[in-house]
C-alpha cells in the first residue's frame, strides 16, 4: 500500500509502447527514466523493495534518504552497473535490464554519470580523462576532440588545468572535471551521485550553480542522489525520499517540508 502523501504527490505517466525516438529528440520527449517494481537485495539484506519512480525529460529529481537506503544502488541499476533482482527500468522506452553487453554499452552512451568521488582515471591527465569517452565513441579527429575537451572544461571553469593530473587538483575541481567527463557525449540523462559530498559550503554552492547552468545549457533529465537538502532545494524540480526500500514520499521541496509524516519531518528538519 502506498503512503497517502505519495498517492497525492505522484505524478507518474504510465509508459506505453512508443515509436523509437531519435537520439537528438530524446532530451525533449516523454519520460526519460521509468522504474517499476524495482527490487534489489545483497544476501539477506533487502535494499530496494519495489521502487516506483519516473523522471521526465528535462526534469531534475533529487533522491534523498538515510545512508544505506540504496540511493547509489538505484543509480547503478539505471546505468546497468548492477542488475536488479526483479522489476523494470525503461530508459527512453528501452528496457535496460534485458540488454546484452553491446546494447547496454550503446545505451550507456546516452547517460552521463558523476561518481561520488569523481572517479577520475588517475593515470590519465584531466584532458585525457575527458577525451576518454570521445575517443572511443565518436569519430572526431584529434583536433576536434581537443576543441571539445577545451569547450567542456571551459563550461566547468577548468580550462587552465588541462594538463594536470587528478591527484594534483582539489576535490571540488575533481567533481568539476567529473561533470565535464559525464557531459562529454552530450547525454540525455545525467546521474549524479552525491555531487556535493565532502565539499565545503562555498564549493558545494558553486557545484550547485554549475549543475543548474549545465541543466539550462543541455536540457537533460537528471537524477541527483544527495544528503544535502540545501543542494536538493537549489537544483531539483522534484524530490523522492527513500525509506525501507520504497519511495516514502515524492514531491517538491515545499511539499516535503509541509508533510506531517513523522519520518519526513524528522528528515527535513535535521538540516533546517
Amino acid at each position: 500500500m502506498m503512503p497517502a502523501e505519495q498517492q497525492v504527490l505522484l505524478d507518474v505517466e504510465e509508459s506505453g509502447a512508443k515509436p523509437a525516438i531519435e537520439a537528438s529528440d530524446e532530451k525533449n520527449a516523454g519520460p526519460a527514466v521509468v522504474m517499476r517494481g524495482l527490487h534489489k537485495s545483497f544476501g539477506k539484506e533487502i535494499v530496494l523493495n519495489g521502487i516506483e519512480l519516473t523522471v521526465n525529460s528535462g526534469e531534475t529529481l533529487a533522491v534523498l534518504g538515510r545512508s544505506g537506503t540504496g540511493k547509489s544502488v538505484l543509480l547503478k541499476l539505471i546505468i546497468g552497473l548492477q542488475a536488479p533482482d526483479s522489476g523494470s527500468i525503461l530508459v527512453h522506452d528501452q528496457e535496460i535490464t534485458r540488454l546484452d553487453l553491446e546494447a547496454l554499452n550503446a545505451a550507456r552512451k546516452k547517460m552521463g554519470f558523476l561518481f561520488q568521488n569523481a572517479a577520475l582515471y588517475d593515470s590519465l591527465s584531466v584532458e585525457q580523462n575527458i577525451a576518454f569517452p570521445l575517443k572511443r565513441h565518436t569519430k572526431m579527429t584529434a583536433s576536434e576532440r581537443g576543441d571539445r575537451v577545451k569547450q567542456l572544461l571551459s563550461s566547468v571553469g577548468m580550462e587552465s588545468d588541462l594538463k594536470k593530473m587528478p591527484g594534483d587538483i582539489s576535490g571540488g575541481m575533481q567533481k568539476r572535471v567529473g561533470l565535464a567527463r559525464a557531459l562529454a557525449l552530450d547525454p540525455g540523462i545525467l546521474l549524479l551521485d552525491e555531487p556535493t559530498a565532502g565539499l565545503d559550503p562555498i564549493t558545494s554552492g558553486e557545484i550547485d550553480e554549475l549543475i543548474l547552468k549545465l541543466q539550462e545549457e543541455h536540457h537533460m533529465a537528471s537524477i541527483v542522489v544527495t544528503h544535502d537538502l540545501q543542494s536538493a532545494k537549489t537544483i531539483a524540480d522534484r524530490l523522492a525520499l527513500l525509506h525501507e526500500g520504497t519511495v516514502h514520499i515524492e514531491g517538491s521541496f515545499e511539499d516535503l517540508e509541509k508533510s506531517d509524516n513523522e519520518f519526513v519531518s524528522q528528515f527535513m528538519k535535521r538540516d533546517s
Partner: protein
C-alpha cells in the same frame, strides 16, 4: 531437573554445546576453505572467459597496450637484468669450484649457458616479474576498483575486461620472453666476467664454448614457458585486482595475493612444463 542417563554427565550444563552443533561447526570449518578454493577457480574461469570474449571485439586499445609494454616491459628491465647478472655471476663462481674439483673447468661456459637458458633465466625472470608486475597490477586495479574508476570505465560504455585486463595480460605474454632473453644475456655476460676474473678468457671464446652444445631448439621450450608465465602473472594480477573489496586494506590484500598466487602458479607451471618438455621434446 532429572538427569537423562543417555547423555554423558560432562556435556550437561549451559556451556556445553549440543552434539549436532559441534558436528555442524566441524563441517563448516572443513567445508569453507574447500568451497572457497573451488569458488576462486570458478570465478577465475569466468573472468578468463570474459577477457577472452572481450579480446576479439573492436576497438583493440593499441595505445593502452603500448603503455603497458612500457609499464611492464621497460620498467622491469633493470631489475630483471640485475637479477640475471647476479645469478650468472654467482653460478659461475659456485660452478667453477665444483668443476675444478673434478678437473672439468673447461665445461664451465657450456654448463653455465645451458643452465641459464634452460632453467635459471626463465624462472628468475618469471619470479622477479611476478613480484614487481603482479603486485603493481593487483594494487593498481584494486585501487581503481575501490575508487569506482572501473565502474566509471564501464559506465562510459567501455569494456574494462578489454581495456584493463586484456591489454595487461597480452603485454605480460609478449614481454616475458623478451625480458628472459635480457636476463639470459646478462647472466652469460656476468658469468664470463666472473670466469675472466679467475682465469683470463676472451668473451668470444667463452661464448663459442658456451653455445657449442646448444641449438636453436634449446631456446624454444624455455621461451614457450615464459609465455605461459606471462599469461599466469597477467591473469592472476588482473583477476585479484578487479575483485578487490573493502577499501585500502583490500587493495593491500590484492597486491599481496597477486604476488603470492602468481609466484606459486609460475613455480607449479615450471615444474609441469619442464616435465612435458622432457617427455615430448627431448
Amino acid at each position: 531437573m532429572s538427569h537423562n542417563p543417555s547423555i554423558p554427565h560432562r556435556l550437561i550444563g549451559q556451556d556445553a554445546p549440543p552434539a549436532p552443533s559441534l558436528v555442524r561447526a566441524t563441517f563448516t570449518t572443513l567445508w569453507n576453505p574447500i568451497n572457497g578454493f573451488f569458488e576462486w577457480f570458478g570465478e577465475l574461469g569466468l573472468f578468463s572467459w570474459q577477457v577472452l570474449r572481450a579480446s576479439v571485439r573492436r576497438p583493440f586499445e593499441g595505445q593502452e597496450l603500448l603503455r603497458q609494454f612500457d609499464e611492464i616491459g621497460s620498467k622491469s628491465l633493470p631489475l630483471v637484468a640485475l637479477a640475471g647478472a647476479a645469478i650468472g655471476f654467482v653460478l659461475a663462481l659456485e660452478s667453477r669450484s665444483s668443476l675444478v674439483h673434478f678437473g672439468a673447468q673447461s665445461m664451465l661456459p657450456a654448463a653455465l649457458v645451458y643452465s641459464i637458458i634452460h632453467e635459471t633465466g626463465p624462472i628468475v625472470t618469471g619470479l622477479v616479474v611476478s613480484g614487481r608486475v603482479g603486485a603493481g597490477i593487483g594494487a593498481e586495479l584494486g585501487s581503481m576498483k575501490v575508487t569506482e574508476q572501473i565502474d566509471a570505465i564501464e559506465a562510459s560504455g567501455v569494456n574494462p575486461y578489454k581495456f584493463l585486463a586484456f591489454t595487461r595480460i597480452l603485454a605480460c605474454i609478449l614481454v616475458l620472453p623478451l625480458l628472459t632473453i635480457a636476463a639470459d644475456f646478462c647472466g652469460v655476460l656476468f658469468g664470463w666476467i666472473a670466469e675472466a676474473l679467475a682465469e683470463p678468457v676472451s668473451f668470444h671464446r667463452f661464448i663459442s664454448q658456451g653455445f657449442a652444445l646448444s641449438t636453436f631448439r634449446d631456446f624454444l621450450a624455455p621461451t614457450f614457458r615464459t609465455v605461459v608465465f606471462g599469461l599466469i602473472i597477467g591473469t592472476i594480477g588482473c583477476f585479484q585486482g578487479m575483485r578487490t573489496k573493502g577499501g585500502t586494506a583490500g587493495v593491500g590484500l590484492s597486491a599481496t595475493s597477486s604476488v603470492v598466487l602468481s609466484s606459486l602458479f609460475v613455480i607449479l607451471a615450471d615444474v609441469i612444463l619442464v616435465k612435458i618438455v622432457l617427455v615430448f621434446f627431448s
